[in-house]
């Protein structure tokens, strides 16, 4: 029998050629971890090219999974276990493996051809030349092991070869003391229509498990105790999936249809795909001809009395600028999700960045304020989408939701809310009181400054609205100078009133006043929170303030910031939120910025905190500060 070593948390990276099923392997293993009661976070990473050449560095696909017995908020800076299915996978991911970490390498992926494609020098093989002596290296010929497990299978050689990810899955299930049954169940669902493939995959899965048991290659098995999760119903969910469910739920709660229009763009396309499936749920989806049409279509639906939503990324978001200004002018409820990616221009489409913040706030001509909100984690995309829709529908305003590629594709555990626990959504429907002498007044605002929503098809409420400046109350075209100023201020005032109703900003972690506040927004939440947690454990005087509402800023944020001697703002851009805080609160917010198309790591933030506490400027790996 093997001894079993308990571990608090473990990070595994599954890396292989993009055809080798690493995403599937990783997500299945994540599922068993969740069933085992662990908290977890995942980060898939795949090539931008659809079919990058096999065996090349560009063709590597990987799946990072961190699970543990404590709260897990990031997929991990480095990994404890690296599975490398070929030489290219090793070359591209070895830097992630901790010293002393477990490296499981598929020998068959290290033949001359694979080594050459991965760029290793002629006649050298990292598996045999001793260069991996810092790691616990386990070399297996998975292709051969699979071939013998399927010796009498009717499948072709190619089909047999494709089951090798199941061997890895079975082996890791054994290594981490996981029952096979939940994995078998997933395999049964996947191959329900293909009995021969089902049989082969189950066999290889079990062979992998049995191999762990009998091979004596491993010194120990591991066990990760359950995390202290709140009672409830859970599932694992990606950011883009959570967005979709958030909007569907909000529209349902508000009693309106959900119209969704999108134009394919990485990393937002998944939102369109998911919406298209939900016809039975009062979702009315459209693949538009471009992003301008997508947002205008959403505006058309909002004019028709329904919630209009679109999701895009940088280039598409730029195309939507004009229509967003129109939505501000019309005061109609639309939500634009910008799933940010590295820019400018086409940039790096699959890589995260937070550099669209100021564009979301200010990227329109004229005075065109709107609400901007950012989710913190993949699962939080549900709540953020719901909140964005609530604000849009109750305040008759466009809302921009700033997600990014890290949240969109990453996943974590989501405690599914009870529908009744969500705040109600009450659109300001027009009533007969909004009529004067038989004419509807589309810009007669309520005490919050919000205009009434009247819907085509309703007799007696016929009205015309447009992008030309409107006369107060009537909505008729007006060039009156004072009317214009009144309307500009009324649109801004509405958002100021919205701010008053938002939950006051609180300290996310640490003391409420003191030496250093680390202020984050959006997807850097997990890294910053975990870093501050580590620093607090080291006894450092530091607090975390995570801001969800980026415009209008929440009440109390200024007062909180004033209680700290130093303010550090880590961001995946060149310091946009820091700029905003300095302008808004006249505080000395210092930036820690990273623009590599990668998320922040915990250790980077810890280091930035330590330097900030010593009043040393943040380090930048390129040596160029700005």
């Amino acid at each position: 029998m093997y001894s079993t070593t308990p571990r608090r948390d473990v990070t595994i990276v599954f890396a292989g050629d993009s055809g080798e099923g690493m995403q599937l392997t990783g997500s299945y293993f994540a599922h068993t971890s969740a069933l085992a009661g662990n908290d977890l976070a995942t980060l898939p990473n795949y090539p931008a090219e659809i079919r990058a050449p096999q065996g090349t560095l560009a063709g590597v696909s990987s799946f990072q999974l961190r699970f543990g017995s404590t709260e897990i908020l990031t997929p991990g800076d480095q990994c404890d276990v690296l599975v490398a299915m070929n030489a290219a996978a090793l070359k591209t991911h070895l830097h992630l493996l901790k010293r002393g970490g477990l490296l499981i390498a598929n020998e068959a992926g290290f033949d001359r051809r694979n080594l050459r494609l991965a760029g290793y020098p002629e006649d050298s093989n990292p598996l045999t030349d001793g260069s991996l002596s810092d790691y616990e290296l386990i070399t297996l010929n998975i292709s051969q092991l699979v071939a013998s497990a399927l010796a009498d299978s009717p499948l072709s050689v190619r089909e047999r070869e494709r089951t090798k990810n199941m061997f890895v899955l079975g082996l890791l299930a054994w290594l981490f003391s996981r029952p096979l049954e939940p994995l078998e169940q997933l395999v049964r669902e996947k191959f329900a229509q293909k009995p021969e493939l089902l049989e082969a995959n189950l066999r290889v899965l079990r062979a992998g498990y049995a191999f762990g048991e009998t091979s004596e290659l491993f010194a120990s098995r591991y066990e990760i105790p359950q995390a202290p999760l709140e009672p409830g119903t859970y599932r694992s969910i990606s950011g883009n999936e959570a967005l979709v469910l958030g909007f569907v739920t909000a529209a349902h709660r508000a009693g309106v249809k959900l119209f969704y229009a999108g134009y394919p763009i990485t990393p937002a396309s998944e939102v369109l795909h998911q919406m298209e499936r939900l016809l039975a749920y009062e979702v009315y989806p459209l693949q538009a001809e471009d992003e301008m049409a997508a947002l205008c279509a959403a505006i058309g639906a909002a004019f028709g009395g329904h919630l209009g939503v679109t999701a895009t990324s940088g280039p598409g978001f730029s195309l939507m600028s004009e229509a967003l200004g129109l939505a501000v002018m019309l005061e109609l409820p639309v939500v634009v999700c910008d799933i940010q990616r590295a820019g400018p221009s086409t940039g790096m489409p699959t890589k995260p960045e937070q550099a669209d913040l100021l564009q979301a706030l200010y990227g329109r001509h004229g005075e065109a304020p709107l609400a901007v909100i950012a989710p913190a984690t993949p699962a939080d995309c549900f709540a953020a989408a719901y909140e964005a829709a609530r604000i849009a529908l109750e305040w008759m305003t466009p809302v921009v939701l700033l997600s990014d590629a890290f949240l969109a594709n990453g996943s974590d555990l989501w405690r599914i809310p009870e529908l009744d626990s969500l705040p109600p959504i009450r659109p300001p429907w027009a009533t007969p009181e909004h009529r004067s002498n038989g004419t509807f007044l589309p810009y007669q605002r309520d005490e919050r400054g919000v205009r009434p929503w009247a819907v085509p098809g309703t007799p007696g409420f016929e009205h015309r609205i447009g992008g030309l400046e409107k006369e107060d109350l009537t909505g008729n075209v007006s060039y009156d100078p004072l009317n214009h100023e009144r309307m500009v201020r009324a649109r801004a005032h509405k958002l100021a009133r919205l701010a008053e109703t938002l939950p006051p900003q609180t300290i996310t972690l640490g003391p409420a006043t003191g030496e250093l506040a680390v202020v984050s927004w959006g997807s850097t939440y997990g890294s910053v929170y975990t870093a501050v947690q580590e620093c607090l454990q080291q006894g450092l005087p530091v607090s975390h303030i995570h801001v969800r509402y980026l415009h209008p800023l929440p009440p109390g944020l200024g007062e909180l910031l004033a209680g700290f001697r130093r303010i550090l703002v880590p961001e995946l851009n060149s310091g946009q939120f820091a700029h905003l805080l300095r302008a808004h609160y006249r505080v000395d917010a210092r930036s820690y910025t990273k623009v590599q198309g990668l998320p922040l790591t915990v250790s980077e933030v810890v280091e930035a905190i330590q330097r900030a506490l010593h009043d040393e400027p943040a380090l930048h790996p390129t040596g160029i500060e700005r």
């Binding site: 009672p231 749920y281 049409a293 229509a323 129109l326 447009g466």
Partner: protein, 341 residues
């Protein structure tokens, strides 16, 4: 049961808003506005069921002058507003008002896609072959050589033929008419309004300020009979003051013939349901051919976007019962709490 009294019939004036119409004196837009209002009254469509969508340009001010619902949007995007509006409120009677700049320059893409999808809307394109609101620049329908502030040496571009473009995009109703022939304008608009599917109407509209008389040869008493061919379903393509001329097809090549010399059986009989011939008809442009006006093509049999979409919705609803809590849970979910897992 309460016996509801029949509401009083709506007149053309009932569709006019209280806003002062601000097109230039003599602008062809007035005639189109009046005929649209007349057609709505003829059809007795309740005002609250009608929505006018537009982009930017002189013609796009149209919604403000109607007492119906209306949205004056941004340049070129009027068709896109219609997608969201019609998918969520398919029962509405939606009109898109556009011009040669709005619909054929900045917004061509949306216009073509709307026609391709066969959304059930009526598109009226006011073609004056010039940019009016921005003071007289070249438009995509300006003829070669046109001198404008943006083409002081004369245009070196070839114009779009809007009806041909609409046909190619898949429009199921394609017509051309003129602001100076009120009866014809009203007839065409009425037919377009009743068409099920994407109806495209090009209206030759005179801009008295920047391009006065652009269509004079189709509108003036002397030249009109020789230059304008008014097509009617089932009738030969005849023109001339007394129908002296006609068009006949030699295989696929049209030619002008004298009706005295050609036998009636040789003449091209207009069949508005014949798409292939509609393409030939739409290409009659300059001498020796007259320019065709009327309903060039109408195919009410093609399903609309809304019909196809709602069939899918029906199928989806038969297959899936909407159960939001189940949707949120997804396929793989579990409980945590009280030792239960």
């Amino acid at each position: 049961m309460n016996q509801l009294s029949t509401p009083p019939a709506l007149s053309a004036k009932d569709y006019a808003s209280d806003q002062e119409v601000r097109w230039c004196p003599g602008c062809g837009d007035y005639a189109i506005l009046k005929q649209v209002q007349t057609v709505l009254a003829e059809l007795q469509i309740p005002r609250e069921q009608v929505v006018f969508l537009s982009g930017i340009g002189c013609s796009s001010r149209f919604p403000y002058y109607m007492s119906t619902y209306g949205l004056h949007g941004i340049h070129g995007r009027a068709p896109a507003f219609a997608y969201g509006l019609k998918l969520t409120r398919p029962e509405l009677h939606v009109w898109i008002i556009t011009g040669d700049g709005d619909g054929l320059s900045i917004g061509t893409n949306h216009l073509l896609h709307l026609l391709r999808r066969n959304l059930d809307v009526t598109v009226v394109l006011f073609n004056n072959q010039v940019y009016g609101l921005t003071k007289g620049q070249l438009s995509p329908t300006s003829p070669p050589g046109q001198v404008t502030p943006s083409s002081p040496w004369g245009s070196v571009e070839f114009p779009f033929n809007p009806v041909l473009l609409a046909l190619s995009a898949g429009a199921t109703f394609v017509a051309r008419t003129l602001d100076r022939d009120l009866a014809h304008l009203r007839m065409v608009l009425a037919r377009a309004a009743q068409h099920r599917g994407a109806a495209f109407v090009e209206v030759y509209q005179n801009c008295p300020v920047f391009n006065d008389g652009a269509f004079a040869r189709f509108t003036e008493k002397e030249s009109k009979p020789w230059n304008a061919l008014f097509v009617e379903h089932g009738k030969p393509l005849r023109f001339g003051p007394n129908g002296e001329r006609a068009v006949r097809l030699r295989t696929t090549t049209p030619e002008v013939v004298s009706t005295e010399e050609a036998a009636p059986s040789e003449l091209w009989i207009h069949d508005e349901t014949d798409r292939a011939r509609a393409f030939l008809l739409a290409q009659l442009w300059d001498d020796p051919f007259p320019r065709p006006f009327g309903v060039l093509y109408a195919d009410p049999s093609k399903p609309t976007y809304e019909e196809l979409f709602f069939e899918q919705v029906q199928r989806a609803r038969q297959r899936t019962t909407a159960d939001l809590p189940a949707l949120l849970r997804g396929r793989n979910w579990w409980h945590i709490g009280n030792g239960e897992r």
